[in-house]
């Protein structure tokens, strides 16, 4: 039985991921890190340290001041040399803490713990303890949205299933794929902790069929062990990894509009998050590193295990620099990622790795001109939420917010499928997302 969600696209031909899924993850230890106090959209923290302070790897350096925030820890040992204020495109200010490493700690050995190479006994951990440690360890969703994980588990609803999202449906990105290949045991231990934290019946690890090797690898770990873990392989299709789409594809249920998946007894976590939970709860290491894919038009596409705060320009340099001149650099995947730079050289590329940075994708910058909508209806056909994007687009341009609302702009998941297929090259996803934000702003 094939598992499908409504709509969706095949945005690439499959060769995009092969750029970076053949090589092992490289570990990189930068001399300086720039840790943003805004690790994901809408999650500002305030610095808990001051310039000149000495910090060790794992020390708390930022506390959340917003509901969506989570603790931030020093990702390397060293001295705070600067704290500067940065404002994002919407004008919101947040701080960036710059840590310079001390040479004394540079040669620390990375011993491999038990949970990295075997299934460990988790009977000593209670539900409450796991959730508290997730909170303290600053764990947020590593898939991109960056919602604090402990909040998901503090739900009062009875949870039946944990869906572990290993779909990695965005083109080009391979960080989750490689993480599973190299840290399979840590992932499974993390998944078992999540099951425990939620009292769920079982966890379902969801793959797309372009990652058969990763699915087999986990299968070999969990087989014959009577664990509450099921591995499911879904047909490759974007946006499989969208929370709501994953629920639809795997469980054949829909999450009610405006509600969290927990309302129907489901929690969804990224596979990277599961590994981070194992690191924090068993290994007592807060979330200070992550895997980042650097791919596309760079000399050597690769996946890196780096401390949070590693500067983007260093990652591009490590990968041998750009191979083209008119490039567009994207943080995240090409469907939903943020454009960091168009043209220019990599040493002028600002920004650093956050907990939610899944990759840096360098693509050729293609000029596009919006032409009038021809009502081909492709956008409506591919919309996973079942919307008519071209109609909302018209309403948004007319600034008719109440019409946008009537057309259910609020249910848009901003996956970008509509803009991708549009033959008139209209920026449908962008304007619908803006309309959605506006509706929420006016409603609040």
């Amino acid at each position: 039985m094939k598992h499908y969600f409504h709509g969706g696209i095949h945005p690439a031909d499959g060769t995009d991921k092969q750029l970076s899924n053949q090589k092992p993850i490289r570990i990189y230890a930068p001399k300086t890190v720039e840790i943003s106090m805004k690790q994901s959209p809408g999650s500002i923290c305030e610095a808990a340290v001051k310039v000149g302070d000495k910090v060790s790897k794992g020390d708390l350096i930022g506390r959340p001041v917003e509901f969506g925030g989570a603790n931030i820890h020093a990702s390397i040992s060293g001295t705070i040399i600067d704290i500067r204020t940065d404002s994002d495109f919407s004008g919101r200010k947040s701080e960036i803490i710059v840590i310079q490493s001390d040479d004394a700690n540079a040669d620390e050995t990375n011993s491999i713990s038990d949970y990295e190479e075997s299934l460990v006994d988790l009977s000593g951990y209670t539900k409450e303890e796991i959730i508290i440690k997730m909170n303290e360890g600053g764990i947020i969703g590593l898939g991109g949205a960056g919602f604090p994980t402990h909040i998901k588990y503090e739900t009062k609803e009875r949870i039946k299933y944990i869906l572990i999202n290993a779909a990695e449906c965005e083109p080009y990105l391979t960080c989750d794929h490689m993480l599973i290949m190299e840290h399979g045991y840590a992932v499974i231990n993390g998944v078992l902790l999540l099951v425990k934290a939620s009292d769920a019946d079982k966890a379902i690890i969801c793959f797309e069929d372009n990652k058969q090797d990763a699915a087999k690898h986990l299968e070999s770990i969990v087989s014959d062990k009577e664990l509450p873990i099921e591995i499911k392989i879904l047909p490759t299709r974007y946006p499989q990894g969208g929370e709501r789409q994953l629920v639809e594809a795997v469980l054949r249920m829909e999450v009610p509009a405006g509600k969290l998946p927990a309302s129907i007894g489901v929690i969804i976590n990224n596979v990277g998050t599961a590994k981070a939970v194992a690191d924090t709860v068993i290994g007592s290491i807060p979330l200070i590193t992550r895997v980042v894919t650097v791919t596309g038009e760079v000399k050597e596409p690769c996946n890196y295990m780096v401390p949070i705060g590693t500067r983007f320009c260093e990652l591009i340099e490590l990968s041998g620099g750009y191979t083209i001149k008119d490039q567009r650099v994207i943080e995240g995947g090409p469907m939903t990622g943020i454009c960091l730079q168009i043209g220019g050289t990599y040493d002028t590329l600002s920004g650093s790795v956050t907990k939610a940075t899944s990759g840096l994708v360098v693509l050729k910058d293609v000029p596009k001109d919006e032409t009038p909508c021809i009502r081909c209806g492709e956008c409506e056909r591919v919309c996973p939420a079942g919307l008519a994007p071209f109609k909302i687009d018209f309403a948004a341009i007319e600034d008719d917010i109440s019409l946008c609302n009537k057309l259910y702009a609020t249910e848009c998941i901003s996956c970008g499928c509509c803009s991708y297929v549009c033959p008139a090259k209209r920026e449908l996803a962008y304007r619908i997302t803006e309309a959605k934000t506006e509706i929420y702003r006016l409603g609040a």
Binding site: A257, K259, T336, E378, A424
Partner: protein, 322 residues
């Protein structure tokens, strides 16, 4: 709400896009109509080509002049006016005067397309509206059907096969094979089922068209004309209804046209178009009803969209719970 424009808009996601544009789609449609065009020149002579060229030139020029006068964004390079021109010429017989085709082209582009906001905003298929325009104002101009050069006799005036069928006359001089390859009297582009299907196969290969709508339209017309035939229930002539007349042209190139038809309702509209087409063929005054069937369906699309609600993820559940 402040929306980005220009360079800022250039930065928004997604950063990759499908390798297909309006222009490419329209060029594909033009390419798909080339076999039928060549066939029509073979069957009806150089007049067919002259009419197509006049229609295309007039369509493109009217669009260009209109947009220049109105100082609108020029869209003449998207090839949609070319498609309209070819389709318009395809829908008239080879004896149509050039002035009539040119007048219809101006009407199709200026009144039907540009008055309503240009490409994508027209409420109905401009080419078919152009045909309807002539049919109302100068019916005589597009009623001179002739046999083809290759029908065994010199080209002479003749009724169409559907006309003969409807009036109960003998049409046995036209074999089913002739109907299939297009060797019968009719409009320029409609006669050759074979060549139209070759073009349609190309469109399917390029994934430009909604095959479900095409299938639903043909199936509805055939079912209706078979069940309620002139000769009694379940005695209709399926092959004649399929192969003669404009059914294939309409189903492959006009039912699938994008004029204000959302995908969700495309099949429903195709069925409605089929019912009206068959109704005209069976009980109307005219022998043929493809153009009116499709035009009527175009006009009903807004209504059908209201009746057939989309399934929006999670919304039904939300309403149940509240």
């Amino acid at each position: 709400m402040k929306l980005k424009t220009g360079n800022e808009l250039h930065e928004v996601s997604p950063h990759i896009m499908i390798n297909r544009s309006t222009k490419v789609i329209m060029q594909d449609v033009v390419l798909a109509m080339i076999p039928a065009l060549l066939g029509s020149i073979y069957f009806f002579g150089i007049n067919a080509l002259i009419l197509v060229v006049s229609a295309v030139t007039t369509c493109v020029l009217s669009e260009y002049i209109w947009q220049r006068i109105r100082k609108e964004q020029l869209t003449t390079n998207d090839w949609s006016a070319v498609v309209t021109g070819i389709l318009l010429a395809f829908n008239v017989p080879s004896t149509t005067p050039i002035w009539a085709v040119m007048l219809a082209s101006v009407f199709a582009i200026i009144v039907v397309k540009q008055f309503f906001g240009g490409i994508g905003s027209n409420f109905a298929n401009p080419a078919l509206m152009g045909r309807a325009f002539l049919l109302f104002l100068w019916p005589a101009s597009i009623s001179g059907y002739v046999t083809t050069y290759h029908s065994g006799v010199d080209a002479v005036s003749s009724a169409t096969v559907l006309g003969l069928y409807k009036s109960g006359s003998d049409f046995s001089m036209f074999s089913k094979w002739d109907m299939f390859i297009g060797n019968i009297p009719g409009c320029i582009g409609e006669t050759s089922t074979l060549l139209l299907l070759i073009g349609f196969a190309y469109l399917c290969y390029r994934r430009v068209v909604n095959t479900a709508a095409t299938g639903a339209y043909i199936a509805t017309v055939l079912l209706m004309t078979f069940v309620f035939s002139r000769d009694g229930l379940f005695k209709g002539d399926i092959l004649t209804n399929l192969l003669s007349g404009g059914l294939i042209l309409g189903a492959c190139f006009m039912m699938t046209d994008y004029a204000s038809v959302a995908p969700r309702v495309k099949v429903t509209l195709a069925v409605i178009a089929g019912l009206i087409t068959a109704g005209i063929r069976l009980w109307g005054m005219l022998p043929e009803g493809v153009s009116y069937g499709i035009l009527a369906a175009n006009c009903l699309s807004g209504l059908v969209e209201i009746i057939i609600r989309p399934h929006i993820y999670g919304v039904r559940l939300k309403k149940q719970k509240n």
